[in-house]
């Protein structure tokens, strides 16, 4: 029942299909709206708030990843205000846990690091929290380093929506939220885990990685998730 609509993104008139979100339409037309929790092929949750955009006639900023397009929508994806807010959000993520790029397997291939560099984050203005966090090495093939986790829930959704196992979810709330496998059982002991590794490929940072790689060596095949998802669309 989808129909064609015209929307304006950063001044450019684009044709879109109802049911698409602003972010999907923008990216399909080579306008990159930054996002960390969004991943093609997974449901959108609007958690990282990097994709906030201005919509004319709407008083509040809206997340591009969950806002559907409609006829006549006019969107601004980058403004000094939005850029300032995105910078703060990125700094907050760095200040929350212990992100040490210099010793990270994903350095150079990390979405958080890349976004920070693209947005001119030269330093973090907020105090670092320095929480003491564990590294779960119990799985034979993978490792989970909570120090690098940004709680984007991509692994949670990849596991639940694509693999159908739902090994991952969150425990606790607020600043004490933690990613947990099963009911806080070590990953290696999680009986529902199929060791498929989709969570690892979906993870935007070095929080989840394959064992055996050194600094900067872990590259991820993010397209695994979207490919599987699109292949199943016909089913």
């Amino acid at each position: 029942m989808s129909e064609k609509v015209k929307v304006r993104i950063d001044g450019e008139v684009l044709t879109a299909t109802t049911g698409q979100t602003i972010l999907e339409v923008a990216r399909a037309n080579n306008t990159y709206i930054p996002a960390l929790c969004y991943m093609e092929g997974l449901s959108a949750v609007g958690a990282c708030r990097l994709c906030m955009v201005e919509i004319s006639g709407v008083g509040k900023l809206q997340p591009a990843c969950t806002t559907p397009v409609q006829e006549g929508l006019a969107v601004v994806t980058a403004s000094p205000q939005l850029e300032a807010y995105r910078k703060i959000a990125l700094e907050l993520l760095f200040a929350e846990r212990n992100h040490v790029c210099a010793v990270c397997v994903s350095s150079g291939h990390c979405e958080l690091q890349t976004l920070a560099q693209d947005h001119g984050v030269t330093h973090v203005r907020y105090p670092y929290g320095y929480p003491r966090l564990a590294v779960d090495t119990s799985h034979p093939r993978y490792v989970l380093d909570h120090n690098r986790c940004i709680l984007c829930s991509r692994c949670v959704r990849a596991c639940a929506e694509i693999e159908g196992a739902h090994v991952w979810d969150f425990a606790g709330r607020g600043i004490r939220s933690m990613l947990v496998s099963e009911l806080s059982r070590p990953w290696g002991e999680a009986t529902t885990c199929t060791s498929c590794g989709k969570c690892v490929q979906a993870c935007p940072t070095g929080a989840m990685a394959e064992k055996g790689w050194g600094v900067e060596e872990m590259t991820k095949q993010r397209s695994v998730v979207s490919r599987l998802s699109s292949m199943r669309e016909g089913e």
């Binding site: 040490v100 210099a102 560099q117 030269t122 203005r125 105090p127 320095y130």
Partner: protein, 177 residues
């Protein structure tokens, strides 16, 4: 004749890699030295940070009382302070100890880890601060050059910009890790 601009450098809690990278700008060093004098730092002889320095380049995190004092001196006596490298900008590896109480840390290294005469040294070593902190938590920093170490061309860009009176802009040379 106008006074030649002066540069001071110092090395707090870090691995000296940033200074290595500074030397790594190759013939850029010559270009810089043609415009300015390096008046303090591991590369020169001076005993004390002189007054009226134009650019202070600081490597490393602030981990001890001595680091803090040196950083404050550099700040007080320099017009522009550059935080050089991830340790100065983010705390980086030195800050990985921050979740652990200092006492426990020292015991682990000097008592549990010692093979001979286990004891925590108190004399001749500066007191550790509770946490290793990035430079800007203690002093005002004007320019941040992250990187572990920063690439030589990033350092050269910043120094050239500063010596030629431009607002430094790393642009695509901005990089953590």
């Amino acid at each position: 004749m106008m006074d030649r601009p002066t540069i001071g450098t110092c090395w707090l809690d870090g691995c000296s890699g940033c200074h290595m990278s500074l030397l790594d700008i190759d013939e850029g060093v010559v270009a810089v030295l043609r415009k300015a004098d390096i008046v303090f730092g591991p590369l020169v002889d001076a005993q004390e940070w002189p007054e009226g320095v134009d650019v202070a380049v600081v490597e490393g995190a602030i981990s001890s009382q001595d680091d803090l004092r040196l950083a404050q001196t550099a700040r007080a006596r320099s017009s522009v302070v550059v935080a050089l490298g991830d340790c100065a900008v983010t705390g980086n590896v030195p800050a990985m100890r921050n979740g652990i109480p200092t006492r426990k840390l020292l015991e682990r290294i000097y008592v549990e880890g010692a093979t001979d005469q286990p004891q925590i040294p108190t004399e001749g070593v500066p007191a550790l601060l509770k946490q290793a902190q990035p430079l800007h938590q203690s002093i005002r920093v004007d320019v941040h050059v992250p990187g572990c170490p920063p690439k030589p061309n990033a350092i050269l860009t910043v120094l050239s910009d500063l010596l030629e009176g431009r607002e430094p802009d790393l642009g695509s040379r901005l990089r953590f890790g």
